[in-house]
Symmetry: C2
Subunit: 467 residues, 2 copies
């Protein structure tokens, strides 16, 4: 238990480190929001914005000396409350650390400060014929550091994996202020513990990522997208199995009929195929050779047609059609307009029982809340299903109860309560549903070893209490 | 500092846990070798062979209670001395834990005990049209647990990555005997620290892997291999850059002329192209569609021919020719026959300076040892170069000095002293060449947190001394 120091003294010390332009205080801090979906102002009275690793390290050291809790801010696009602060905290924002130090076109790597937005990284990479394969809707705001700290996923995990796979090296400011230089740039380097792994996906609880060396891939030059209607989940699974044998497969996005009905009836140009089928699938392929990629696509279509796996198909033949098909899958404004208020789920479950699990979740919700409405869609190739649930006007008041119903069904199937969004502060109470006591004990042991006083993101992952 | 207990009492306790058939003692233990390249008997007087996780956990608990150091044995194919023991140690071998519990053809995963050899895993996977993409020459002996503990690489890292990428979940017996059940099987699961990462590549110093859930890939059905002669390293780099745009690229193996000369002159059928060029490259592509893969290969050949990147080419058109081309790259018996005694290196260096670095290493060795001979080859797409060095009959006596010359040159280029083989006991003294003091301090902190008395693989990675 620490006593917060006089904020005036703290502000004076931090100002000495980062300068006037490095501080946002009082009403200016409170004017900021730290959740992209809910109204949630920054409650920390001081936001420190170091402009380099040295300032960041000094900021952390000063906070440690004063027993001051710190909350880390990346692009503030997380939906699990990882950036929420309280009046006792100081927020540390990486927003001024936006330098892309190098794009290495030979080794196909990028070296970037933590505050670089993914969109800026993509632009820099594309200038060298390269791509960073993490594809998020929020890429204009989501940052290198934030997406590493949360091991972000997105649409193309089925081809390129999650963020963890692309991190070659990290520089991290540890909870004691020491800078850990683990800036490996080699694909293969088996010399001792791969320490960067500790920080990837740990949601800012073990250190603050200040810089990263990332693996890029060649920028694709050919793109094909098809939209399929399918009437049986077994056929969906068979299609996925066949699609996995396409080396250029880059997305396999499944939409349940509840989702597609909403899109197709929204009068927003999101109806590439007739309504009434059970499942719709968007299959994207990204490659590097127009001719052979076209032959791959045609062969695949022929094969799934001959096997009678699909009820209907639409193949995009222009960039505009590609965009239009993706608009169906990325129809968040339709969701917001038609489903609000809704509770959003990001679950993961064994492919063999995905459909049964989803059905049982919906049944359990309908049993408990008669007016339940759902939309269901997701990255099936990665076991990852997103679900929106509205049970009526009191949806948000009953959020925790709705989560309880969903997660207790999910637990029967060994599912995960968060495929990609993370635990943050909002899902802490459910962590024990998908981590064993031994795992939680080891998590706490690591947290205690690196941050014994719990000063760094103290309310994230764990309930704030003596470890 | 522990006092070893009376071995008779220890043996009695361990026999009570694993039974008579679970123990190998005395002369039978000493008769075993624990290094595939050097004569190195097992010095531990007792080898415990638990047959399941419970016995393994009880074995560890018993050793902890007695302050008994433990050395872990997988397939004993490691070349960094990770399995070396001394008379004070007990060896724990996973050799009886060889059960493949499940191949899930839908989710494309395997669940296997740690002692399963990779070849057995491959056979089981192939029966379901699947493949485990780690391809090692030692796959008949190397085990699931050992390759995870050392994050094994191999020939196909350029396509599928190292072992770390394929591990979905682990069961680990911690250094205190507690079983950590982290048996995730989901591709996406962002719920707290990804604890399995801690054990992958930590060479058995933080826990004993008892079971793993592994990600498989569809078994390729089409295979193409070409052998290229190239006369300039810039062309090699350009070729790699082009090859990376082939979605079916699965190996890009470069042989320097010193290596190829040895193979081609060995009278062992390893001479697919005329001698005299500077570099030879084996390019392998594995895919799932004969027709489109053939078109990809032909298009690539046309392209690199038009760009005048290659001096000569041989394309395998039968399974036998494919095998013959791979025999050139995997000519270890020629190396042993012509280069012995030699010191073997497994280094990793930034692609932009690979060739300069290799030249400077050879120059420095030649300056120091007039009769130096080299062979140089490796997985260039992964920055990973293997090198064999013979400086005359006294090569092995001067091993440490030879390593010093190589590693001090390598350090100038920020290279890694071990791309895939690991540190073990044999490279400990050089660890500080490629890890910063802060990294080594954090490694020690983690070791101390999990294994405070240093009972598990106590001489691996770290010099055995109070942490």
């Amino acid at each position: 238990m620490h006593t917060p120091p006089a904020k005036a003294e703290l502000e004076r010390i931090l100002r000495g480190i980062v300068g006037d332009s490095g501080l946002v205080v009082g009403r200016d801090a409170r004017a900021r929001q730290c959740d992209p979906l809910r109204r949630r102002p920054v409650l920390a009275p001081i936001i420190v914005r170091p402009s380099n690793t040295t300032e960041l390290s000094e900021t952390v050291s000063a906070c440690v000396e004063l027993g001051q809790t710190m909350v880390i801010h990346g692009g503030l696009t997380g939906v699990a409350g990882g950036a929420y602060s309280c009046e006792d905290d100081v927020a540390i924002s990486l927003e001024r650390m936006t330098h892309i130090e190098e794009i290495d076109a030979v080794g196909q790597t990028a070296t970037a400060q933590a505050g670089v937005p993914l969109a800026a990284l993509q632009t820099a990479a594309a200038a060298h014929g390269l791509m960073y394969p993490i594809d998020l809707l929020s890429q204009g705001s989501a940052t290198v550091g934030g997406t590493i700290a949360t091991n972000a996923g997105g649409n193309r995990v089925v081809r390129w994996g999650m963020t963890r796979r692309h991190v070659l090296g990290l520089e991290v400011v540890l909870p004691n202020g020491i800078v850990l230089p683990a800036l490996n740039r080699l694909v293969k380097n088996n010399t001792g513990y791969d320490l960067k792994q500790l920080f990837i996906g740990s949601e800012g609880t073990l250190g603050i990522i200040s810089k990263a060396i990332l693996q890029l891939v060649p920028l694709p030059t050919s793109e094909s997208v098809m939209f399929l209607a399918v009437d049986d989940f077994d056929n969906v699974a068979t299609l996925l199995n066949l699609a996995r044998r396409l080396p250029i497969l880059s997305a396999f996005e499944v939409m349940w009929s509840d989702y597609y009905e909403l899109m197709a009836s929204s009068d927003s140009g999101r109806s590439p195929l007739p309504r009434g089928h059970d499942f719709y699938i968007l299959v994207e392929m990204l490659g590097y050779n127009e001719a052979s990629d076209r032959s791959t696509v045609e062969d695949f279509l022929q094969r799934i047609h001959d096997a009678e796996l699909i009820a209907d198909v639409s193949l995009a033949t222009s960039a505009r059609q590609v965009r239009d098909l993706w608009r169906v899958r990325e129809g968040s404004e339709v969701l917001v307009a038609n489903m609000s208020p809704f509770v959003s789920f990001d679950i993961s479950v064994d492919l063999r029982c995905v459909n049964t699990c989803i059905s049982q979740i919906k049944q359990a919700l309908s049993n408990r809340f008669a007016s339940s409405r759902f939309v269901t869609f997701g990255h099936l190739g990665d076991n990852n299903i997103h679900m929106g649930v509205n049970i009526g006007p009191e949806t948000l008041e009953l959020e925790s109860e709705i989560e309880g119903v969903v997660f207790s069904q999910l637990a029967k199937f060994g599912g995960s309560i968060s495929a990609e969004h993370g635990i943050g502060q909002l899902k802490r109470e459910f962590l024990q549903l998908c981590k064993s006591p031994e795992e939680i004990a080891l998590m706490r042991q690591l947290k205690h070893s690196l941050d014994p006083v719990q000063l760094l993101n103290p309310a994230v992952l764990f309930n704030k209490r003596p470890l």
